[in-house]
Amino acid sequence: MASATKTYAVLLPESSAFDRRNLWGLGVFLRGEPRELVLDKAQADALRNKGFELKSKRPRPEITEGGD
């Protein structure tokens, strides 16, 4: 069952109580180092709950080669 996903820049903020967090299926987050991830809504909500900062990113327009 596929659910709607979006691309986010996910940041463990400087004010976090943690230096690093290892999240199941998402990998390791280090404080101050944003990571770009594709998340579904439940995951995005769970990350916000944990104090992560999420900025949604617009999908990049597909680059097509000229001359077609």
Binding site: F18, L23, A42, A46, K50
Partner: protein, 324 residues
């Protein structure tokens, strides 16, 4: 089409509760080798012998509140969350990771937890609320095994079954490289002695769980009891009687140490600050191996500075359990 499953999509998440029966929104993955959920009703049956050949109707009884068991492969990184649940608190030293975490039985009630058993592919989640761990065991048989922790839990809380969404869609994970044939070493009176081929450690706490009636009537609390520690270590019998000579009627400080592969400064330590060591005169001989000798560690608390009979330490732990 029927799908046959091996448990690969099953997920076990432990969530701290506050208050009782109310899980928070963030949890952590419990690495699992296996787990057992005793989701069984007791049935009220008549034991009268009656003339009627057909048995009378049974009544729905109480939920069984004991018998939850998790067997978890242990690394110095993955075990902290379970230790935290078992002991209920910990002491942390160091302002930033790596920390030193120490765990011992305190006189206060540990927080209750919710265990969520999920299948991530089917997106089905069952919650068992109001759990308290009542036994914690570490075992290893070096000849064939992982270092494993066995945690027994007693539950008297609600059950929220067949949910479509998990409590936490991105649970924390403390999992790391697993110890395959981990080194487990014995440290006696601050001197590292022999490598062990086996350890069986059990710490038991006594709680009196109350049983619940299908989510409508349930116990509001547990009685906090005492705890007991038992430990047997095994190693090869050698010419210098390394293990055998420890039975000398003297008081010892014994530590069982398992370092993380590749980093000897990060390790799990189980320390008995005061103990006697008894030769239990039990041997195992298997295949072409030497004789395996067993010694029983009998810990006690009299006057040691750690003020406990067993102290578990995660040295240079990179994980932090504070805010979860």
């Amino acid at each position: 089409m029927a799908t046959y499953r091996s448990g690969a999509n099953s997920r076990l998440v432990l969530v701290k509760e506050s208050p009782y029966n109310t899980p928070g929104s963030t949890g952590a993955i419990v690495p699992k080798a296996s787990f057992t959920i005793p989701s069984s009703y007791e049935r009220i049956q008549s034991d009268e012998l009656v003339a009627d050949p057909n048995p009378p109707q049974e009544a729905k009884g109480l939920y069984s509140g004991s018998g939850f068991q998790i067997v978890s492969p242990v690394t110095a990184d993955s075990i902290g969350w379970l230790l935290y649940f078992f002991f209920g608190s910990y002491a942390k030293s160091g302002a930033a990771a790596p920390f030193e975490h120490t765990f011992k039985v305190a006189g206060t009630l540990p927080p209750t937890g919710t265990l969520e058993v999920g299948d991530t592919e089917l997106t089905k989640y069952d919650q068992y609320n109001g759990l308290l761990p009542n036994s914690f065991g570490l075992s290893i048989s070096k000849t064939s095994d992982l270092l494993k922790a066995t945690v027994g839990l007693a539950g008297s809380g609600l059950r929220v079954l067949n949910g479509a969404a998990p409590i936490d869609a991105a649970p924390d994970s403390f999992g790391d490289k697993r110890h395959v044939l981990p080194a487990v070493q014995l440290k006696v009176d601050t001197v590292l002695t022999s490598y062990l081929t086996g350890v069986d450690l059990t710490i038991s706490r006594t709680f009196t769980p109350l049983l619940d009636l299908d989510g409508e009537l349930y116990g509001s609390d547990f009685d906090l009891g005492d705890y007991a520690v038992d430990c047997v270590v095994r190693g090869w019998l050698d010419a210098s009687n390394t293990l055998r000579d420890l039975d000398d009627d003297a008081e010892h400080v014994v530590e069982i140490i398992s370092p993380r592969p590749g980093d000897a400064t990060r390790y799990l330590s189980v320390k008995f600050p005061e103990c006697h060591i008894f030769d239990v005169e039990s041997y195992n001989v298997g295949g072409d191996a030497p004789i395996e000798f067993s010694a029983r560690i009998a810990p006690f608390y009299d006057d040691n500075a750690d003020a406990t009979s067993v102290l578990v330490t995660l040295e240079n732990d990179i994980a932090d359990y504070a805010a979860i």
